[in-house]
């Protein structure tokens, strides 16, 4: 593991940054859901609600020039890596002002300026691509780190295996974050996976693997910090399995018949964000009004983004054939 002397707990500033990221995710998510429910917008939406701690926990260790790769359920990762809220909303709504001019959509959000390099809709496919970012950093001799996010279900697809093995053999500066929310679409992990902890699979590649409570912000911060430090110092990749829960099922509209009611109720009752908020206050890292101030600021930020996005036009029709190739080939 990383040799540098690393603090055992995040400092106050880091804690507040983590809170802020989580609060942004929650606020944006709630707005998406309410707008969907009320029919104000129509889109395919994979809520990350319940998983915010994970993104916040790794993101505070990253620099803007570090790379993140994520999946269709990616809003939390997008926000954590700093994709600007306005352009993010506009992209989700398919507007010309979106990060990708509305051509990608929520499953393909990209914003290289903030290091959000690829969002893919294909389970597992981001893993080999993340290796490419790691390889680029290694070849350039920079100490940039790549974090790639995926689900528990993705641990059963070929790309996971090929990608982790290659990263281990080449000692790539990549952190593999398996956000284990216990389900792949409608199938519980145990029904599809021959092992109890995804992190056990790291041994197959000679890579360190660790399971962490992804709902515990400090634990997640610690594990991610070690993995990022390992990668940054050239010691190679790590597989993190962060255990968590998806509050809203696979995607909005999911009837969730396959999720035991009690299980979901318990998970929502243990909602990590209010718990973290209370913990911050109890432990004197912040007082109520400071957090309320952050929450207000974020509410305004999201209001503004919603406003911006809903008032933005669709992309102009002449975008149809651009960006297929460098030149236009019809």
């Amino acid at each position: 593991m990383a040799t540098t002397n690393r603090p055992d707990a995040p400092d106050r500033e880091t804690l507040l940054r983590m809170f802020e990221i989580q609060q942004k995710i929650k606020t944006a998510d709630e707005r998406f859901r309410s707008m969907l429910t009320s029919g104000q917008v129509q889109l395919i939406y994979y809520s990350p609600r319940g998983q915010e701690c994970i993104s916040a926990g790794y993101a505070v260790h990253l620099r803007p020039d570090d790379y993140v790769v994520t999946i269709y359920r990616g809003l939390h990762d997008h926000i954590a890596k700093g994709v600007p809220m306005r352009e993010l909303w506009a992209e989700f709504l398919g507007r010309g002002t979106g990060t990708c001019k509305g051509k990608g959509g929520p499953m393909h959000v990209t914003h290289p300026a903030s290091g959000l390099m690829v969002t893919t809709g294909i389970v597992g496919a981001g893993i080999p691509i993340a290796n490419g970012f790691g390889l680029a950093a290694q070849l350039s001799g920079t100490d940039q780190v790549t974090v790639v996010n995926f689900g528990d279900g993705a641990a059963n697809i070929g790309a996971f295996h090929e990608g982790l093995n290659m990263a281990a053999v080449w000692k790539l500066p990549v952190v593999f974050v398996c956000q284990n929310n216990l389900y792949g679409e409608h199938t519980p992990m145990a029904m599809s996976t021959g092992v109890e902890y995804i992190s056990e699979r790291a041994a197959s590649y000679g890579m360190p693997g660790v399971t962490v409570n992804g709902n515990d912000p400090v634990a997640m911060w610690k594990v991610a910090g070690e993995a990022v430090a390992r990668a940054r110092s050239g010691e190679g990749p790590t597989l993190i399995e962060a255990r968590t829960y998806r509050f809203w099922g696979h995607l909005m509209g999911d009837a969730m018949e396959y999720m035991p009611k009690e299980e979901r109720k318990a998970a929502m009752a243990a909602d990590p964000l209010p718990a973290f908020r209370a913990w911050l206050i109890e432990n004197g890292h912040a007082n109520e009004s400071q957090l309320a101030e952050i929450e207000d600021r974020i509410k305004a930020l999201v209001d503004d983004a919603v406003d911006f996005a809903t008032n933005s036009p669709e992309p102009p029709m002449d975008e149809l054939y651009t960006d297929v190739y460098e030149e236009i080939i019809k």
Partner: protein, 333 residues
């Protein structure tokens, strides 16, 4: 004889019924795919109820491992089963194409006919749902270009049922493409015969008769073509609309007979135009009927671009009624 209510149902239900009938007829039929068992019965509910009725041995939820899904189907088919494997959305076939093109398709030939692969790959497909570039494609051309694979794409619930039962009992591997927008939309519902209703592969259906131009299509675009035919009729152009129903094999005789009569042809599909099945069809018509044709065959297909997310652009990607009408008019210049 008792009269019964007409059995009007959406395509999703007809596909469910096809699997139900096939499983009832033959114990060797079984299903495998992601999330297909109860309680959810598939993310699009197409396999609803079947695991309850036939058990989770015959309606098997799988890991997210498409290569393993198709591979398992290939092996079981060789061993005498009739597997129906689901690839949730067609764009995902890129992760398992090797099992389809190098194995399912080639094994009969490579074994000199000793082993056969009677399996079906069901997959849902289509743009128009705001799913973006990786969840919207029609990729039937990959299978058409892979000798050994058959390909069927229904345009209505009755055909969906009839073609699927035929595909399941076919001796060869069939890629069965289900236009996702038609699953539950009542606008596409239709009457479906009860029981063991079969529609043979390779038999086209003339859905509109006409004499001035032949519009040849399959899948959801058949409806676009029907609307185009109506619009053209209003202008005094009589279009014949042919629904191919399967494209390997396809009913070449029906196509050629129609075009021989009308002397004009337009081929329409949703897949990207460049190297799509429309190119094959257009080439075949020219090759056979060049001297008869009054105008070159026109192709209407998806634009040659990744499928855009924004709904205005996505719509522009898709073949529209106006595009078909314009293509017909180009054959009349």
């Amino acid at each position: 004889m008792t009269t019964t209510e007409p059995r009007i149902m959406p395509m999703g239900m007809a596909i469910n019924e096809a699997m139900d009938v096939a499983m009832g007829l033959d114990e060797k039929v079984f299903l495998l795919g992601e999330d297909i068992a109860e309680p959810s019965g598939g993310v699009y509910k197409i396999t609803k109820g079947l695991s309850t009725k036939y058990g989770t041995q015959r309606v098997r939820k799988t890991p997210i491992s498409e290569a393993a899904i198709i591979g398992a189907a290939v092996g079981a088919a060789i061993a005498g089963y009739k597997p129906v494997a689901e690839i949730m959305i067609m764009d995902f076939i890129g992760v398992c194409l090797d099992q389809i093109t190098n194995h399912a398709a080639k094994i009969r030939y490579m074994s000199g006919g000793q082993t056969t692969v009677p399996m079906v790959i069901r997959t849902s497909a289509g743009a128009g749902r705001g799913f973006g570039a990786q969840h919207s494609e029609l990729l039937e051309a990959f299978a058409v270009h892979s000798p050994g694979m058959k390909v069927a794409i229904p345009s209505n619930p009755a055909d969906a049922k009839g073609l699927l039962i035929s595909s399941i009992f076919d001796a060869d591997p069939v890629l069965f493409v289900e236009p996702m927008l038609m699953y539950w939309d009542p606008a596409y519902a239709g009457e479906v015969p009860a029981g063991d209703h079969r529609v043979p592969l390779g038999k086209a259906n003339t859905v509109v008769e006409g004499k001035d131009v032949s519009i040849v299509s399959y899948g959801r675009q058949v409806h676009t073509c029907k609307q185009a035919a109506e619009a053209l009729a209003a202008e005094g152009i009589s279009a014949e609309v042919i629904d191919l129903r399967s494209i390997v094999p396809y009913d070449e005789a029906a196509v050629m007979a129609s075009v021989t009569k009308t002397k004009r042809a337009v081929v329409v599909h949703e897949a990207v135009t460049r190297c799509g099945f429309g190119a094959e069809l257009s080439s075949r018509i020219h090759e056979e009927l060049f001297g008869t044709l009054a105008a070159p065959v026109q192709r209407v297909g998806g634009k040659n671009i990744p499928i855009p997310y924004a709904s205005n652009l996505e719509k522009a990607f898709l073949p529209q009624v106006d595009d078909v009408v314009a293509a017909v008019k180009r054959t009349n210049k």
